[in-house]
């Protein structure tokens, strides 16, 4: 996506651009600061702009999906090692083709990425060890909260001004589902150098490829090698394709794992466990268990480990404690952000998504194409969004994919609903029912529409009975 860079001082929502940072596949990133606070305000945020204008509907949906994953994860898995999302919104700037409809994610600004740090010669051994430990902390939290990052790489590991680590870029993050929350499904995407060997043979199912936490552990193994070996991969080859082929040779037992001599023995053993050739062999090594090993081996400065406190826990608690303060400040801002991701593919904005109307979305593809209002494709509306969404909590009126409903207001925290594709939301919309219905209004779960109309919050509903 090419466009003229936004000039410094350009206002984007409540924020103002100060300088360009970089451009990736779908997004352009700018440094910015809160608008109207004067020149001397620190430009301490990153504005990630994902344009949707000019994209075909399906591509726009892909972009919106990326943003949705980021927003969803940021909301539900906050942690000092994950980059906090301060704000997210959709721009409406009809005079500016690049910005109109663009999704903006506002994040805490990092000093540089681990990739930048590796380019600059790589961290010292002590630094590298701390960075790996902090990556593990972030991963352990992510996995414990039921998410897989899905695209862990030095480009997505940010270093703050104080050197601390933040994981970022959750556009491919996947929520674990299944009976025991062991796996999730992600779009068939990734970065060659960090894909686990099983991904090259993974079948593509209806919801994408199966992704498990062990995929992040594999990527971590590559990254451990890189931070100690000036950025080089443990797998030989001049190009990512060639290294992917070497990875496969190793996984199929035709080539040994040859790590760089610069990687110290402890980290070499850790990386080797992360790089176990199969998912099952790798599954024994969780981010939590790796972190415990790292903590157990590190010398802890005496003033940090209190008497009787196990050194590792003490060390970690102290470090996190400092960062929590920063997050609490951000939390004040974060409470105000709206979950506003417009989907350019859901139809002309004139008849949905605006003016208090939303279009019903049924994630079942077979139902999207039917026009016969088949009962199997019908969707329900709740009487009370704060009670379990069961058969005795639905109105008789049914709705179908493509129906446009009048919407009054939204409730951000009702009963969480997960749709058939694993999309999760606790948000509900109060919609008006046709005249003659038993009740004048009912509630549509936000997962049943792609529209995110700018409508007021509902007064907290009184329990239905």
């Amino acid at each position: 996506m090419t466009h003229r860079p936004l000039p410094p001082g350009r206002r984007v929502g409540d924020w103002e651009v100060t300088a360009p940072i970089g451009a990736g596949g779908w997004a352009t990133v700018y440094a910015g600061r809160r608008a109207g606070r004067g020149e001397d305000t620190a430009d301490d945020v990153a504005l990630k702009i994902l344009p949707t204008e000019g994209l075909a509907p399906r591509q726009a949906r892909k972009v919106a999906e990326t943003a949705r994953r980021e927003v969803e994860l940021a909301r539900r898995a906050r942690h000092p090692r994950l980059i906090p999302l301060l704000d997210s919104f959709v721009l409406s700037e009809p005079d500016h083709p690049f910005l109109d409809g663009a999704i903006v994610l506002v994040m805490e600004r990092a000093e540089r990425s681990l990739r930048d740090a590796l380019r600059g010669g790589g961290p010292t051994e002590t630094e590298a060890g701390r960075i790996v430990a902090e990556i593990c902390e972030g991963l352990a939290h992510l996995h414990a909260t039921g998410w897989v990052h899905g695209d862990l790489k030095p480009d997505n590991i940010l270093l703050m001004a104080d050197g601390s680590v933040r994981l970022s870029d959750f556009g491919l993050a996947t929520e674990l589902t299944g009976d025991r929350g062991t796996h999730g499904y992600a779009p068939p995407m990734g970065t060659f150098d960090y894909l686990p060997p099983e991904r090259w043979k993974a079948p593509l199912g209806e919801h994408g490829v199966t992704v498990r936490p062990s995929a992040d552990i594999w990527a971590l193994g590559i990254i451990i090698h890189q931070v100690f070996a000036s950025g080089t991969s443990p797998f030989p080859g001049a190009t990512p394709v060639s290294r992917a082929a070497s990875t496969q040779e190793y996984a199929e037992g035709r080539a040994p794992l040859r790590m760089d001599g610069a990687v110290p023995p402890f980290w070499r053993a850790l990386a080797a466990d992360c790089l176990a050739p199969t998912h099952s062999a790798r599954a024994a090594h969780t981010a939590e268990s790796l972190l415990a090993r790292i903590d157990a081996r590190q010398d802890v400065p005496p003033e940090r480990a209190g008497p009787g406190t196990p050194p590792p826990a003490g060390r970690r608690r102290l470090r996190i404690g400092a960062a929590v303060g920063a997050v609490a400040v951000c939390g004040v801002v974060a409470a105000g952000w709206s979950y506003a991701v417009r989907d350019a593919g859901s139809g002309p904005p004139a008849d949905s998504g605006g003016n208090g109307r939303i279009r019903v979305f049924n994630v079942e593809e077979a139902c999207q194409d039917r026009k016969d209002r088949n009962a199997e494709c019908s969707l329900g509306l709740a009487i009370d969004p704060q009670r379990p969404y069961t058969i005795d909590n639905v109105v008789p009126t049914r709705v179908w994919h493509g129906d446009v409903l009048a919407v009054d207001c939204q409730l951000p925290h009702g009963v969480p609903i997960v749709d058939e594709a694993g999309t999760w939301s606790a948000q509900w919309y109060r919609v008006r029912l046709p005249n003659g219905s038993a009740q004048p209004t009912a509630w549509l779960p936000a997962v049943r529409t792609k529209d995110r109309p700018g409508i007021p919050g509902c007064p907290r509903p009184t329990p239905a009975r």
Binding site: M1, T2, A23, G24, G25, W26, L55, A56, P57, R58, Q59, K62, R115, D151, K153, P154, D155, G171, L172, P187, P188, M189, G190, T191, F192, D193, L195, R199, W200, K201, A202, P203, L204, G205, E206, G208, V209, G237, T239, P240, V241, S242, A244, A245, S246, T247, Q248, E249, E252, R254, A255, E365, A366, Q368, D369, R370, K371
Partner: protein, 276 residues
């Protein structure tokens, strides 16, 4: 990187002119399919007890060890062990495009996704086998410029100039055009739809089925759809629907690809446009 597929068709290598079978008295001409992963090697030639080969080509004119194939990166290399004969590697979809691999050439990189390796025989006829390299990497269309080394990419890339891609677009066309939303075109419908395309004038129903199988099994690695046990017809249909659903869902086929298809009959202006 999952490797390559080598296929020696049944009865490959024309029967020697005298009508005799294999000199070693082994069964002659069975089809062979080999799957090779990165770094793996397959030798081909007439073979013998002391010169084992993975791919036996039965012809007196072919050396016991005629050459070898090695999987490298996302492609493969051909070594020609013959001291006198050149081998040809044809691209069946390349409108006559081919490579000549001269005698004693070691590790010639083969750039085609589909190849037909042709070895000359004494009678002026040829022996041939096919090699598919489905791992060929393509960059995403929406990626910005600059180095792609560290970029997040779609791990299922398709050659948008290949016949299989035309078949895929034709399969997806009704859904992309938002018409007849449930039905996925049948094989005869695809043949008919692509007839006007210069590359598909001689496309047969059987070829379309092979392209669909190749897409499902080698390119997209489609997981068996639920309820696949309900008979062969249903399974075939399920496979097509799965291909279409996934190709659209993950953006492998998009609206702009409709332009690759020949103009639709009955959409005006078309008929006389091509007239002299």
């Amino acid at each position: 990187m999952s490797g390559i597929v080598v296929h020696l068709p049944q009865g490959s290598g024309n029967r020697p002119p005298d009508g005799s079978g294999d000199a070693d008295g082994e069964p002659y001409g069975d089809a062979v399919t080999l799957r090779l992963g990165p770094g793996e090697v397959a030798r081909f030639g007439r073979g013998s007890a002391t010169t084992p080969v993975e791919l036996r080509l039965v012809d007196e004119a072919i050396s016991r060890l005629a050459g070898e194939i090695r999987v490298t990166d996302d492609h493969w290399q051909l070594s020609n062990h013959s001291a006198t004969q050149s081998y040809l590697v044809e691209n069946p979809e390349g409108a006559g495009e081919y490579l000549r691999v001269p005698p004693r050439r070691a590790g010639a990189p083969i750039p085609f996704e589909f190849s037909r390796v042709v070895l000359p025989t004494r009678g002026g006829s040829t022996v041939a086998f096919q090699v598919y390299a489905p791992d060929h990497v393509y960059l995403d269309p929406d990626g910005a410029g600059g180095p792609w080394e560290h970029r997040t990419v779609t791990a299922y890339s398709l050659d948008e100039t290949a016949t299989y891609f035309l078949v895929l677009v034709a399969l997806c066309e009704p859904r992309l055009r938002d018409e007849s939303p449930v039905a996925v075109p049948t094989t005869p419908q695809i043949v008919e739809r692509l007839r006007g395309h210069p590359a598909c004038a001689r496309l047969t129903a059987r070829a379309v089925s092979s392209h669909i199988d190749y897409l499902a099994e080698e390119k997209m690695r489609i997981a068996a759809p639920a309820g696949a046990e309900t008979g062969r017809g249903a399974r075939r249909n399920g496979k097509r629907e799965a291909i279409v659903g996934l190709a659209l869902r993950f953006g492998l086929v998009r609206e702009e690809h409709l332009a690759l298809l020949p103009p639709r009959v009955g959409t005006g202006a078309v008929a006389w446009e091509s007239a002299p």
